[in-house]
């Protein structure tokens, strides 16, 4: 497929959906154009029939209407009819113009709303792989500022351009019908002005861009200065910063001035072209009228017709050359929409509501690149209701285990079963509904605590919510806030400590209730006592809820039924605390560090120094 065509697919689709609106607005603007044409025509007819009493050869419907109403005599006695006709016609032209705007705005805004929502939904379906590698700032920029460009383009440029084109199509034939000579006199400059504007703006496009960039650079200078104000002051670099700003400020000023000079040249010269057109109508028309080739009324009407076209045409040229910006924006939006979504097949089923929480991994390997596996042939079985602690160094693949379990990534080798169901044949949403997970980085939205806790289950009652916050040992903390559960957190509200965030996210997951609960190093910032309190609350469900805890704390491991040690993508040790802490290996090392007795303290340090592995400075 042609790539540029491909790029605008989205726009073509969206416009096609609204084709009746667009068609309607074209019809409306055509009718409005006709009424706009009628207004000077009324003046013309009055001047010809009543005031100068020129015999009218052509039988336009206005003339026939006058004849029907009693001829020029009657009209001259009731000249207010003509005045009223002008007002009514203008009002009708305005009404149809408004109708056109209404239809076109509806169509544009519907299109934009659709597109915004489509982008938003799409963002939620992007694969983890894509999201991890993507620059989220860039994605947001495409969804917002490129959308703004598109909005400007659709609601202003397209609407104006469409209007001008229809206006030309309606007015030009009518003018030729009224007087071919005068039409030629009053239209010959149109193509010149159009091409002039189009070419001129095409040529200064790069200057516009330079000005934009200079302004962007200036903004960056200010932003960096303000963000790095401590560094500026620390080195007493205020003067240097002022100089740097001065450079950016002066550069922007000079470029802007250059642009203004270019624009002043354009506006003055194009005004000249347009006014020459009017001059030709005025003088040339006067000549024709004095020769009797056209009537005085026709002369009068054409001085107005000419002005109705020339100025919009100039704008059309400018807008056409600026349309390129929108094309780029549309392409960038399309690229986001083309990014891969999590695949979904119709063959996938939902897990039953009463699914059991037993988990089985069998020969699971996984890696983003074939030769760099994150998980290597991992197999284990966890019975429903068991509590498992997973320990291991950073990068051992612990989190990947969880991500596969949540179907955030798709495993390709081996098998993962939950409650006996092969995960790859279960709908992602259904898996996520049945497995409650706390991710490593606690993320809260900037809304009230209540809304955050009920985020995964908006229908939950407040009682239920308090039960989950009590289990997560955060209820009292929340009650101590002035606004309690209505406290808004985030940028515009209270900022929580790391431990508080972790406990709130825990209560959010607990509120959902699920046969499997996974904590990915989620209590690291919570102090030991509180952690014990939470574990005690969680242990009430032991036997019915399978609990997986990724942790570094021996105190947590001791309470687990079994401990898994992961190293380099493999399961290297498993067993109870009693079994593992006697065996040489990672677990014993960790246990020794954490259970270090006061008396051992200095000795250990000496040992470490000798080995040269734990501390590298003396």
């Amino acid at each position: 497929m042609n790539p540029s065509k491909h790029h605008h697919r989205i726009l073509v689709d969206l416009i096609r959906n609204k084709r009746w609106h667009y068609l309607g607005s074209v019809v409306a603007v055509a009718i409005a154009s006709y009424f706009m044409f009628l207004v000077p025509t009324i003046g013309k007819v009055v001047i010809d029939r009543v005031i100068t009493d020129t015999p009218e050869s052509d039988g336009g419907f206005l003339n026939r209407a006058i004849d029907w109403a009693g001829g020029a005599e009657t009209l001259s006695e009731h000249l207010w009819w003509a005045g009223l006709a002008i007002v009514v016609t203008t009002a009708l032209a305005g009404a149809f113009m408004y109708l056109k705007d209404y239809l076109a705005s509806r169509a544009c805004e519907d299109t934009l709303k659709d597109l915004r929502e489509r982008l938003f939904a799409h963002l939620h379906r992007l694969t983890e792989g894509y999201l991890n590698n993507a620059d989220s700032g860039d994605i947001v920029q495409r969804c917002t500022s490129d959308m703004d460009t598109l909005r400007q383009f659709l609601t202003r440029q397209v609407m104006d351009m469409g209007r001008t084109v229809v206006l030309v199509c309606i007015l030009v034939p009518l003018m030729f019908a009224a007087s071919p000579v005068m039409a030629a006199v009053s239209l010959f400059m149109l193509p010149v002005v159009f091409v002039y504007a189009w070419v001129y703006f095409g040529r200064i496009k790069s200057l516009f861009q330079e000005v934009d960039e200079a302004e962007g650079d200036l903004t960056t200078i200010v932003q960096e200065n303000l963000t790095g104000i401590r560094v500026v002051r620390a080195f007493a670099r205020q003067e240097y910063e002022c100089e740097k700003f001065e450079q950016g400020n002066a550069r922007y000023r000079d470029l802007n001035m250059k642009l203004i000079r270019m624009l002043s040249n354009f506006w003055a010269s194009s005004d000249l072209l347009c006014l020459i057109q009017s001059g030709f109508v005025l003088i040339g028309g006067g000549y024709l009228a004095s020769r009797g080739v056209i009537t005085v009324g026709t002369y009068f009407a054409f001085t107005l017709y000419a002005n109705m076209l020339i100025w919009p045409i100039r704008q059309l040229g400018q807008q056409l050359s600026e349309a390129g910006k929108a094309t780029v924006a549309i392409g960038r939006i399309q690229e986001i929409l083309d990014a891969p979504e999590e695949p979904q097949s119709d063959a996938e089923r939902d897990l039953p509501d009463d699914v059991r929480g037993d988990i089985a991994f069998e020969g699971v390997s996984f890696g983003f690149e074939p030769h760099r596996l994150v998980l290597k042939d991992v197999s284990f079985k966890i019975a429903a209701g068991e509590t498992i602690a997973i320990v291991g160094p950073t990068g051992a693949g612990k989190s990947m285990l969880i991500q596969l379990l949540m179907r955030l990534h798709d495993y390709t080798t081996g098998s993962i079963r939950v409650g006996g169901y092969e995960l790859s044949s279960v709908r992602r949403q259904s898996v996520r509904r049945r497995i409650g997970t706390l991710l490593q980085e606690p993320f809260l939205f900037s809304r009230s605590l209540r809304d955050n806790i009920k985020f995964g289950r908006p229908s939950a009652s407040d009682d239920h919510m308090v039960r989950s916050t009590t289990d997560a040992a955060v209820h009292h903390t929340i009650e101590a806030f002035q606004e309690k559960y209505d406290t808004v957190i985030g940028e515009r509200g209270v900022s929580l400590s790391g431990g508080q965030k972790q406990r709130v996210t825990l209560s959010r997951t607990l509120l959902r209730g699920s046969p499997v609960l996974v904590l990915d190093d989620t209590l690291s910032a919570v102090d030991a006592n509180t952690e014990q309190q939470i574990l005690k609350a969680l242990s009430r469900k032991a036997g019915e809820q399978t609990l997986l805890i990724i942790t570094h704390r021996i105190s947590v491991c001791r309470q687990a039924d079994r401990i898994f040690v992961m190293q380099n993508g493999q399961l290297t040790e498993q067993g109870t605390h009693e079994a593992l802490h006697d065996r040489p290996g990672f677990y014993r090392q960790l246990w020794r560090i954490q259970s270090g007795q006061k008396a051992q303290f200095e000795d250990d340090a000496d040992d470490a120094r000798q080995e040269g592995s734990l501390l590298n400075a003396t």
Partner: protein, 610 residues
């Protein structure tokens, strides 16, 4: 006096201040603009008079009409008009550009003088908007508003004058319609501006939602919130839809409305004027002129009402910018220090304020401090540091360690007590002298966009390339930089996203020492530095700390142990002080902190080596 608080000058006050600020330096441009606008208005008003005379001539004389004369008149007017248009676009555009430049320069330079307390209370985004968009709006409104008012009002007056002169009765009829027209235009303009503002607000709300959604997308997926999120988002897009429609429809209703009013004027002219022509009391040319003038009223009236509405709605911007400029800096050199500096400049002294350059001793004497008057974060702090000593500050987050460093750097001044350098209150020395003798490494390293070389050189603008490299070698970052494709010319992107935190930390370390500062302040970063970088950092630390007074907010055992003086800070008080050995022997707070940190570091070692 406005002590770093944002003042809110009265509306007229802000405009008045602004007026004097912008009018004085640009007096000449304003005056030329005024004259040019007046002449342009005159030319604009004369066009229709030519048409009138031409029509009358044709009706009266037919073929004998001297069309060439009219062609000359018309041509002359066109050329004059185009010339003036050309001129005043340049003048007004130049004025607006100059104003923007001045306002931005003044605001930026003013911000450089304000103290940290001000920046604590004002978000970067807020300040940025003042310097960039507010100044732009003000400059545009002042320059183009002035032009349009100077042009529009005389133009309107001229049209009225001509109408009354041509036929005063008919003139009055058109004139009577004008107040309605102006009222409608004002009504629409104000509403359109307000509706645009609401629209912008909703638009930024949508941006915020996108930002948050993408940041929390994993959370939403895991909690299966996709559908609810979309439902919520639809409320925002729905609002955007309604507001945008409202805005578009207001705009599109505006013109037809004005047009109908104008057509009432032209219709009346046709009716009454036509009747008068038939009665022989009015010429056809005058009738045509009347209808043309009735239409011509529209342009200046629309421009004037638009600019008046904008002017009214820009008041808030003006208040904010003027308010910012009126904030007085809190920490400045006292008058006596300034006198010393002037003298030092004349005498060519070695230091900027003529004082002693070498720092022998720093003393904190009964220092208390609070960011807010009622919240004391540091209480009765006493400390004497001799030359060359390394002081390690340890304690929990929020205990007041960073405050001590900030006070030393004179980012804030003690609420009570004194900080003495060589026995002299540091407020008797100049800020520039103290701060040019400081080297600071912050916990979260901040680099400017530019090359790595220019970032290191920020610490000593006169440093040669060799000195830059020597500094980099001293902190073990030279090899890392050389491994990069472009070496020292590697461009640091905005926010430094192309470098790891560890690399940025090392570069900012090099930046701190290149000026060979007498005092080094370091806020050690434990998190986000990988083991390898940490190793390098530690190795270089000893050489760097040597021979200067160093204040280190320390987390790492190695740094703490090697310090000459260890201070344990808790809740704003100094609770323990001594050397590593003496404090360990005490088995107090330090012992516990040390033990915990020891465990953490051993654990980290195990977890990261695997």
């Amino acid at each position: 006096m406005n002590q770093e608080q944002n003042s809110t000058p009265s509306k007229r006050g802000a405009w008045k201040t602004l007026f004097y600020m912008v009018y004085r330096p640009q007096k000449r441009v304003f005056h030329i603009l005024l004259v040019a606008a007046l002449i342009t208005a005159g030319i604009d008003a004369s066009f229709t008079l030519v048409t009138k005379a031409l029509v009358d001539d044709i009706v009266a004389h037919g073929l004998q009409a001297d069309l060439i004369r009219y062609a000359w008149m018309y041509g002359g007017l066109v050329l004059a008009l185009v010339g003036f248009i050309w001129m005043f676009i340049r003048l007004a555009g130049g004025l607006s550009t100059a104003l923007m430049y001045d306002l931005r320069k003044q605001s930026f330079e003013h911000l450089q003088r304000l103290s940290f307390r001000f920046f604590d209370n004002h978000a970067v985004g807020w300040l940025l908007a003042r310097i960039t968009s507010d100044t732009q709006r003000i400059a545009n409104v002042v320059a183009w508003g002035t032009l349009d008012l100077f042009w529009g009002v005389p133009y309107l007056v001229a049209i009225f004058g001509i109408l009354i002169y041509l036929d005063w009765q008919l003139g009055l009829v058109v004139l009577a319609l004008f107040p309605f027209l102006a009222g409608v235009a004002m009504w629409f303009n104000i509403r359109i501006l307000d509706s645009s503002r609401r629209l912008r607000k909703t638009n930024s709300r949508i941006t915020a939602v996108y930002n948050e959604s993408i940041a929390g997308v994993q959370t939403s997926k895991v909690l299966v919130r996709e559908d609810e999120n979309l439902n919520e988002f639809q409320k925002d897009t729905g609002k955007m839809y309604r507001q945008s429609m409202h805005n578009l429809l207001l705009t599109s209703a505006f013109f037809p409305f004005v047009n109908v009013f104008v057509s009432i004027a032209t219709g009346a002219a046709l009716w009454l004027g036509g009747t008068a022509v038939l009665a022989g009391t009015l010429t056809l040319g005058t009738l045509v002129a009347f209808m043309a003038y009735a239409r011509a009223l529209m342009d200046p009236m629309l421009e004037v009402s638009e600019k008046l509405a904008e002017l009214q709605r820009t008041t808030a911007c003006v208040e904010r910018v003027i308010g910012l400029l009126e904030v007085e800096p809190e920490i400045v050199d006292s008058e006596s220090v300034q006198r010393c500096m002037d003298r030092a400049l004349v005498e060519g002294a070695t230091t900027v304020d003529g004082g002693v350059d070498e720092i022998q001793e720093i003393e904190f004497r009964d220092v208390s401090f609070g960011y807010k008057p009622d919240e004391i974060v540091l209480r009765d702090f006493n400390l004497t540091v001799p030359a060359g000593a390394t002081v390690a500050l340890v304690g929990a987050t929020g205990s007041g360690k960073s405050t001590i460093a900030s006070l030393l750097c004179r980012f804030y001044e003690p609420t009570e007590g004194q900080i003495l350098i060589n026995g002299q209150d540091y407020r008797e020395r100049s800020l520039a002298w103290l701060q040019s003798n400081l080297g600071i490494v912050l916990q979260t390293p901040f680099l400017f966009s530019g090359t790595i070389r220019s970032n290191i050189r920020y610490g000593n603008l006169n440093a040669s390339d060799e000195q830059v490299e020597a500094a980099a070698k001293a902190v073990n970052v030279h090899d890392i930089i050389m491994q990069m494709e472009k070496g020292y010319e590697t461009v640091v992107q905005e926010g430094g996203n192309n470098l790891s935190t560890g690399q940025k930390q090392l570069i900012s370390f090099a930046r701190a020492i290149i000026g060979n500062p007498q005092i080094l302040v370091m806020d050690e970063a434990t998190s986000s530095v990988d083991t390898q970088t940490e190793h390098w950092l530690q190795e270089s630390l000893q050489t760097v700390l040597d021979g200067r007074i160093s204040f280190v907010i320390a987390h790492r055992l190695s740094t703490i142990r090697s310090a000459d003086m260890i201070l344990v800070i808790d809740a704003g008080r100094l609770v323990e002080q001594g050397t590593h050995e003496s404090l360990l022997a005490e088995r107090g707070r330090y012992y516990q902190l040390y033990r915990k940190q020891y465990q953490t570091e051993s654990e980290e070692q195990l977890l990261h080596s695997g």
